[in-house]
């Protein structure tokens, strides 16, 4: 016969059990820390993991900030050491740039993607990652952490040699023949509008302020127009943004130029580089960084 608890006994046991679970998770956090990288389900999750790592680890030499266009340039594509990509899918380059500015130590070189500056910086992300004492989770998340441990165990990151082999295989393949014209046309229609002048001028002003702050502290800041499909580059919004930023920063030595053969590049969804193209751009940037580091 199951016991029938009185209300007080039932609620006390319930509270005790909840407290025990919380204490166990707090102890687990103290014991294991925040080392386990939780699986990213959405782009925002991915951004949190990237930014957590940036503020937790030693300051890199080179940082890329940008939108989803630059997000495709995975760090493992680069041969350059001590490089971090803080581009945020669905986010603004200004978010990453502001977080970099707010850190006590800054990288030597910061590359800013300027294609999509219309989005303002994400104040929540900037606030969360703008101090050296960014808030840590007090409690271990048992389900997420278990899945992360399982995923890390089942799909351990490839070794450098394995990675190199896979990337070389990708480079050896011909460019994709995927027909993207439906996606390309849809994307073009969405951005074939005039960029609101106030938005553009605000973005350029903010960019100038952040770049000035970084340069005052001795960093070098370079700008990058990520290569896009021709109809996208010719859309009114992109053209307007391009002209405004180049007008504000006319010094050609500030601009990185991607001199790749455009026929080699593909944008599967109409806007973002596919894996092979992103690898080609990354390798091209590697050569530029190498030249800058060893003039």
């Amino acid at each position: 016969m199951a016991p029938r608890y009185g209300s007080l006994a039932w609620l006390s046991r319930c509270l005790l059990s909840a407290a025990l679970v919380l204490v166990a998770c707090a102890i687990a956090t103290a014991r294991f820390g925040q080392r386990l990288q939780l699986p990213a389900i959405t782009s925002r999750d991915g951004a949190l993991i990237t930014l957590n790592r940036y503020v937790d680890e030693p300051t890199p030499d080179i940082v890329l900030v940008g939108s989803s266009l630059t997000f495709r340039l995975k760090e493992e594509y680069f041969a350059t050491q001590r490089l971090r990509n803080l581009a945020l899918a669905g986010g603004s380059p200004l978010t990453g740039l502001e977080i970099v500015v707010n850190q006590p130590k800054i990288p030597k070189l910061i590359v800013v993607e300027t294609n999509i500056l219309s989005r303002t910086a994400d104040p929540a992300l900037v606030a969360r990652f703008s101090t050296s004492q960014h808030p840590h989770q007090i409690f271990f998340r048992p389900v997420r952490a278990s899945v992360a441990a399982y995923e890390n165990w089942m799909h351990a990151p490839p070794t450098h040699a394995q990675n190199e082999r896979a990337l070389q295989q990708l480079l050896d393949q011909p460019p994709s023949d995927f027909d993207n014209h439906v996606y390309l046309e849809r994307a073009r229609q969405q951005i074939d509008i005039e960029a609101p002048p106030a938005v553009v001028s605000d973005a350029v002003e903010t960019l100038g302020r952040l770049v000035g702050a970084l340069e005052l502290r001795g960093a070098r800041v370079l700008f990058l127009d990520m290569p896009c499909a021709q109809p996208i580059e010719e859309a009114r919004f992109m053209r307007g943004m391009h002209e405004a930023v180049h007008k504000a920063f006319p010094d050609a030595s500030r601009w990185l130029s991607i001199g790749l053969d455009r026929t080699e590049l593909r944008w599967a969804d109409g806007v973002h580089l596919d894996e092979r193209s992103a690898l080609l751009v990354s390798r091209y940037l590697d050569r530029i960084f190498s030249a800058l580091q060893n003039p």
């Binding site: 199951a2 039932w10 319930c14 048992p142 389900v143 995923e151 849809r186 599967a268």
Partner: protein
């Protein structure tokens, strides 16, 4: 003010703390009405006059209808007109347009947002008018009517309580009568299903948005539809559980809204298990007045389709909602002639098979809820049957999907009574752990899905 916000926790604690204090005992109803007005006005103060007009107008029609029954239809039309105006005006007007009709007061009304919970309090109003007129008793006091319609646990998304069930409960409440264990179980289960299951699954099902879903692999499109099916259940079950638990703390018993709907072996059974209070309302106030099943087979089928179609439109002004309701109506009509024969077949494997068929159909139809744009919903459906071509599809973690869905699956497995009795000793510990897990593993905050209706 969402049930999952700290503001609501503070609000509910203060109201509960004051409610049973001896000086406030004579004013318990007034206190709950004042608290409910504050709760509603906290998010949309500009819509409080509308709430007052709806309740006072309904009360006026009730008093008139009790003298002369011919006022009853006028009262129902008044409420349906309110619902139709606020819910369907956006079909005809763009609220952001610089000029609407040019009459300032009308323009002001046209620009008002959709009042949260309007679908629910209008149904309460109609229930009040019909039940009270039918019983021909003296009308309840205006404050009691206010409490019935705007009682804060059920104001925004139900359960839809019939006046005949709620109003007799309005009497002085004693602290000693609170069923604390039952209330705690409902509230903890509600928060667990909302925070752990629904909010975490929402992170995954966000890939069902247009045009994101086009990047998914075909099998992931199927997976996400199933996950959305679990999410919408967990979200609404969670809300209803919290509402029932909170109401118990204040001495009121609200109707149960869900009874393991995904274990239904027929569509008619599904509608006795899913959003039970809405199904009961539609049956009582729409299906039966339309003639129900008393006017021959063909008329019964037509009635079913009409009622479900209107039930779909009640959710929102869109072709997708209408299609969702009509298709449920068609499924009910199609199964009706065969139901008796199927139920008479004694084959053990048949029931699981029937459950699978009902779950699959119900789940596929949720696409019209997730994507109210009809073209997008059709695009998603088509994508479930065509191979995906995207070379870089997003990666979904199947293990996480399973872990977040598990509570819904386990709940529907129906633990047998002997096992349940043996587990009873662990019940308080289990609920405590669920509460802790809801806090630890809460997904990013999102509004309850049914708040939009």
């Amino acid at each position: 003010m969402s049930f999952t916000s700290w503001q609501f926790a503070l609000f509910a604690t203060i109201v509960f703390g004051v409610y049973y204090l001896p000086p406030f005992k004579p004013f318990q109803v007034q206190l709950l009405v004042a608290a409910s007005i504050f709760f509603y006005g906290y998010g949309q103060p500009e819509l409080l006059p509308l709430l007052a007009v709806a309740v006072c107008g309904t009360y006026l029609f009730l008093v008139l209808a009790l003298r002369d029954r011919r006022w009853l239809p006028a009262g129902i039309v008044f409420n349906l007109a309110l619902l139709a105006f606020f819910k369907y005006k956006f079909l005809l007007f763009d609220p952001n347009a610089p000029a609407l009709v040019g009459v300032p007061i009308v323009d002001f009304l046209l620009r008002l947002p959709l009042p949260v919970g309007i679908s629910f309090f209008v149904f309460h109003n109609i229930s009040l008018l019909v039940d009270m007129t039918r019983e021909k008793k003296a009308p309840p006091g205006l404050v009691d009517v206010f409490l019935y319609i705007i009682f804060f646990p059920q104001l925004v998304a139900g359960p839809i309580t019939r006046a005949g069930m709620f109003i007799p409960q309005i009497e002085p409440k004693r602290f000693a009568d609170i069923t604390f264990i039952e209330a705690a179980k409902w509230i903890l289960a509600g928060f667990f299903f909302k925070l752990y299951v629904a909010n975490n699954l929402n992170e995954m099902t966000s890939y069902m948005d247009f045009p994101l879903y086009e990047t998914l692999r075909t099998q992931d499109r199927w997976l996400l539809v199933i996950l959305y099916s679990y999410q919408i259940y967990a979200d609404f079950f969670g809300y209803s559980g919290i509402a029932i638990g909170l109401a118990l703390l204040f001495g009121y018993r609200l109707p149960i809204n869900f009874d393991l709907p995904y274990s239904s072996a027929s569509f008619s059974e599904f509608w006795t298990r899913w959003h039970i209070s809405l199904s009961a309302w539609l049956r009582t106030y729409l299906y039966i007045p339309l003639g129900g099943n008393r006017r021959g087979k063909f008329r019964t089928y037509v009635n079913l389709i009409i009622v479900m179609g209107l039930g779909g439109l009640w959710h929102g002004a869109g072709l997708g909602y209408l299609a969702w309701g009509l298709m449920h109506g068609v499924l009910l009509a199609v199964e009706r002639p065969f139901l008796e024969t199927i139920q008479s077949v004694k084959w053990a494997a048949l029931r699981p098979l029937r459950i699978a068929v009902v779950f699959t159909c119900v789940t596929m139809l949720w696409i019209f809820f997730r994507l109210p744009n009809f073209d997008h919903a059709l695009g998603y459906l088509a994508g479930m049957f065509t191979p995906s071509t995207n070379p870089n599809p997003p990666k979904l973690f199947y293990d996480l999907a399973l872990l977040y869905s598990l509570p819904v699956i386990i709940q529907h497995l129906r633990v047998s009574s002997p096992v349940e009795r043996r587990l009873a000793v662990w019940e308080p510990y289990l609920y405590g752990a669920l509460g802790a897990l809801a806090y630890l593993e809460a997904g990013p905050a999102t509004a309850f899905i049914y708040f939009q209706f």
